[in-house]
Symmetry: C2
Subunit: 117 residues, 2 copies
């Protein structure tokens, strides 16, 4: 992966939702792009924070006590252990960063498989 | 830092070059924005990869054997131990991610002080 990555070019290569593609790595972290629409599921990560940067569209990160509304250029880091449920009314594109192997659902049994692109 | 961060709003708050501002944290990593112009200095990080995402402008990351040319939406991760020297002809805005405490020059004696914003 020792080349530059254009995020739009990577996003143009797939169309499914809630299935992150790993486009680069930073130490033991995956740098991922993902397309999302509609509601994901409530989950938490006990061992890691969870980084979201909106590239296009609009993302609501529902927390138990409030909603975080993110437009392009907005980022939010969900602290470890905090339950959250992302939701997007329209197709929305995100940059995600998490330690490699972090299950996107918080549960290895239901997580999307790791896919490099 | 348990709030959303708008990258443009953070960038509007300072004007100096090569002085990253930490705008959020992901585990033990700093999420930073920085304005750059002209040439930085050759350096390397023995202990960590180095993440660059161009938000606006154009960045050349000079490596010893080639140049990496980055436009908005392009990212590049400089592998640990690899000498590099960033250069920008015009004012360029970047998102940087590195372990907290990583000296931006590769040398704690010459590094820009850590600044939260």
């Amino acid at each position: 992966m020792n080349t530059k990555v254009n995020l739009q070019e990577k996003l143009s290569q797939f169309s499914d939702y809630w299935s992150p593609r790993t486009v680069s790595q930073l130490n033991d972290y995956d740098i991922m792009v993902v397309k999302v629409k509609d509601e994901f599921q409530w989950h938490k990560h006990e061992d890691t924070d969870d980084f979201f940067l909106v590239l296009s569209g609009h993302l609501t990160i529902q927390l138990r006590d409030r909603d975080i509304e993110l437009n392009p250029g907005d980022l939010f880091v969900v602290p470890r252990g905090v339950e959250h449920c992302p939701r997007a009314e329209e197709e929305t594109h995100l940059l995600l960063i998490e330690p490699t192997g972090t299950p996107n659902t918080g549960d290895v049994n239901t997580a999307a498989p790791r896919k490099e692109l």
